[in-house]
């Protein structure tokens, strides 16, 4: 980044603030994961915890990407490149999982599974 108006003091301040925020988020995610009191959803980890954990991770990641990697003020070519990559990444993630859990096939699968066999252990 070799823009003419480069304000070192301001940049440093924002970098420092982001660093502190990342520290705080890390602590938050550990506390939410470890301390039973903050456990959301059913006792122990479940889908709600995963969503929360990934949301925190996502926030941290976007902070790093936006501020540290200056994606908040980057040139057009790089946005285009990253947009394309993001689409492909999403495609890879979603379609493979979608292929495993086909909505139409799922209906037939649920018919054949033995639902409720282990409803009560004792």
């Amino acid at each position: 980044m070799s823009d003419a108006h480069f304000d070192a003091a301001k940049t440093k301040k924002s970098f420092f603030a982001v660093g502190i925020a990342l520290f705080v988020f890390t602590v938050v995610t550990v506390v939410v994961g470890l301390v039973p009191m903050f456990d959301i959803g059913a006792p122990g980890p479940d889908a709600a915890d995963i969503i929360l954990g990934l949301a925190i991770a996502g926030t941290k990641a976007s902070l790093v990407a936006l501020i540290f990697m200056h994606l908040n003020h980057e040139k057009g070519a790089i946005y285009k490149l990253m947009l394309f990559t993001t689409i492909m990444f999403a495609c890879l993630m979603v379609a493979t999982i979608f292929a495993e859990m086909d909505p139409i096939k799922e209906q037939f699968d649920t018919l054949s599974t033995t639902s409720g066999v282990v409803s009560e252990v004792r």
Partner: protein
């Protein structure tokens, strides 16, 4: 040769004078010059193509004559250890050669030739760049490829032999193959994975370089829409390689860990191997491997075909002396092809029990992806309409590309739908289909490229007569190989039967020519079948195999042509022997290190042929209007006044 042309080469001589101090190994072996690397890539990949072809010829013997010993090879002591006591091809050998034929042809042959060799040599010249953006990474890319290729080649000579689980290397078969060897690392299957990781890394380095060069090193005036189609095709290919190869790298790493570290990413629970439960934790998914593999391997098809289409576009435009019809459309089609190729991969997996929703999605995208391909072929066809075509060797190859690629593409349509695919899956029909795309398609276009740019690379023309002797038999025998495959495939012949489907044929007895009929009589005359027998599907094996061997024979003129013309070929009269318009012809011949004597400027679009009112039938990108007129007044040598002499 005019006086001015002399001056150009003299200037080139003096410009590159300081390079005489560079030692030989640095100039030609560990070179950072994109042109040397391009030629290195080209020669290496041609060697691999020849080797892959050799593997296939042995396989074809086994298919055509499973009960006869292999001629010649069965006398070679080291080759004998692969054959059975009678000197016949064993099933293991067939599997090994089959797997390695696919791998070598695709990853070490066609991709490096199309993308790396031509992309390296021609692309920077066409955009007017002095070199690639990262010359040293470029060199690294080549040498990583060489190491990977050498490992792949060397794996034939270790006790286990090379990989034999198909070029797709599906798990769990590929994971458990060769497990009887104590040291799993030194087995062909593991070596395959390691060398694939290297080859993939090489492609990644190459594509980073190509994309960056195209974005940042275009010369003055070379706007996006003035770039030749080949550059667009290379850009699109580079993006495919960049984003599709890493998932395969991930798959290769996971499979490597499966083999070496005993994990079970691709091993399902309770897998038994030869009657014994496999000692692995289980819980993995073979489907995952297929997803990761085909996420690469379908876009890979477009890696094979896009540079080919780019080359054909260059050759066609130059030799029809007409601008390309629908340049913009073609550019968008190339980009769309690059994008859509990522969304179709699971059509290779209809047999895996995919659900109907997801398979409808992939059927739809597969049909959509054929649209840009059709646009490209149609645009090229229309470009020829009404042109005064020069049918020299490159143009012959480029012209025949169109129908061959057309057959390849159209035979793919039945495979796009899951119902016909269930019948055709893994038959010779599939083989015929994709070979039509890649062999008489891509490889013909690459031949066209070699003939077209050879004068620029060496300063000498290739022999036209030998070229014709190369082209016509190749065209005939290519069809002789792959045409029968389509027929056999529809009859249900399986691709992996090393005896060519004897057992299947005995069961089905599909007669297609009664004794005494025209075809049967011809077949008798050719000693393909016994007298008075009916002609059955299996007799086509002989036709295919014979065509393959004859095809090999008629590659000899090409090999002679490539090597001999560099020394005895006709010298080019000017720097622009084909009278083309694109930027690469502005350089001295052969181009020195740094390519252009003065920083080039692009004044117009890439294909200004037969412009009304222009002094000549071609209006090069690199000449100002004044230079154009000056050039045409004195002589028909286009470069006489084009380059100012310092």
């Amino acid at each position: 040769m005019s006086a001015a042309a002399n001056t150009i080469s003299e200037v080139a001589e003096s410009e590159s004078h300081h390079e005489h101090q560079i030692p030989f190994w640095k100039k030609y072996i560990f070179s950072t010059d994109h042109k040397v690397i391009g030629v290195q890539y080209g020669l290496t990949s041609l060697c691999f193509l020849a080797f892959g072809f050799f593997l296939m010829m042995v396989m074809r013997w086994s298919i055509a004559y499973p009960d006869r010993p292999v001629p010649v090879l069965s006398d070679w002591p080291w080759f004998q250890s692969w054959l059975d006591d009678n000197g016949k091809v064993t099933g293991d050998l067939y599997n090994m050669f089959g797997a390695m034929h696919g791998t070598i042809m695709i990853f070490l042959g066609v991709v490096p030739l199309g993308f790396a060799a031509f992309g390296n040599y021609v692309m920077p010249l066409q955009i007017g760049a002095p070199d690639m953006a990262f010359p040293r990474i470029n060199m690294a890319s080549y040498w990583v490829y060489v190491i990977g290729g050498a490992m792949m080649f060397a794996s034939f000579f270790i006790p286990s032999g090379a990989a034999k689980a198909g070029w797709t290397n599906y798990s769990p078969l590929a994971t458990v193959t060769d497990h009887q060897y104590g040291d799993l690392f030194w087995t062909g299957q593991t070596q395959w994975l390691v060398s694939m990781v290297l080859v993939i890394s090489s492609s990644l380095l190459g594509s980073v370089n190509v994309i960056c060069t195209i974005i940042n090193l275009r010369c003055k005036g070379m706007t996006w829409m003035r770039m030749p189609v080949f550059v667009w095709a290379t850009l699109s290919t580079a993006f495919i390689l960049l984003l599709a190869f890493p998932p395969l790298e991930a798959a290769a790493i996971l499979q490597l860990v499966d083999r070496m570290g005993g994990t079970s990413f691709f091993i399902p629970t309770g897998l038994n191997v030869s009657g014994m439960p496999l000692d692995a934790a289980g819980g993995g998914s073979p489907l995952l491997y297929q997803h990761l593999f085909w996420f690469l391997a379908h876009p890979e098809v477009y890696v094979l075909i896009l540079p080919a289409i780019g080359i054909v576009a260059e050759v066609v435009a130059c030799n029809t002396r007409k601008p390309l019809w629908g340049y913009r459309t073609m550019v968008y089609a190339v980009l769309a092809l690059g994008f859509l190729s990522f969304l179709v991969w699971a059509h290779h997996m209809y047999m895996t029990g995919m659900g109907p929703a997801i398979s409808s999605f992939f059927q739809t995208t597969t049909v959509i992806v054929s649209t840009p391909s059709v646009i490209l072929v149609t645009a090229l066809l229309i470009s020829m309409w009404g042109g005064s075509i020069r049918f020299n060797t490159p143009m012959l190859f480029a012209t025949s590309f169109l129908p061959m690629f057309g057959i390849g593409g159209l035979t793919g349509l039945p495979l796009a739908f899951n119902i016909p695919d269930l019948h055709l899956h893994d038959t010779y029909y599939v083989i015929g289909h994709f070979h039509y795309v890649v062999a008489p398609g891509s490889i013909f276009a690459l031949f066209a490229g070699v003939y077209h740019w050879y004068p620029k690379i060496t300063g000498r023309m290739m022999n036209e007569k030998l070229g014709l002797l190369h082209f016509w038999p190749s065209l005939i025998f290519m069809n002789g190989i792959f045409g029968p495959m389509l027929i056999q495939g529809m009859a249900g012949f399986h691709r992996r039967a090393f005896d060519g489907g004897r057992a299947y044929e005995t069961m089905s007895q599909q007669v297609y020519a009664e004794p005494g009929s025209f075809l049967a009589v011809i077949a008798e005359k050719l000693h393909i079948i016994d007298p008075h027998a009916a002609l059955t599907m299996i007799d086509l094996n002989v036709v295919t195999s014979a065509s393959a061997w004859l095809l090999a024979v008629f590659q000899i003129p090409f090999i002679i042509n490539v090597f001999a013309s560099a020394f005895v070929g006709k010298k080019v009269k000017s720097d622009n022997p084909w009278e083309a318009t694109t930027m690469e012809w502005a350089t001295p011949t052969p181009p020195p290190h740094g390519n252009f004597l003065t920083p080039p400027v692009a004044y117009r679009g890439a294909y200004e042929y037969s412009v009304p009112g222009a002094p000549r039938d071609f209006t090069p990108q690199f000449e100002t209007d004044a230079e154009l007129i000056a050039g045409s007044e004195h002589t028909d040598d286009p470069d006489e006044a084009a380059v100012p002499v310092h």
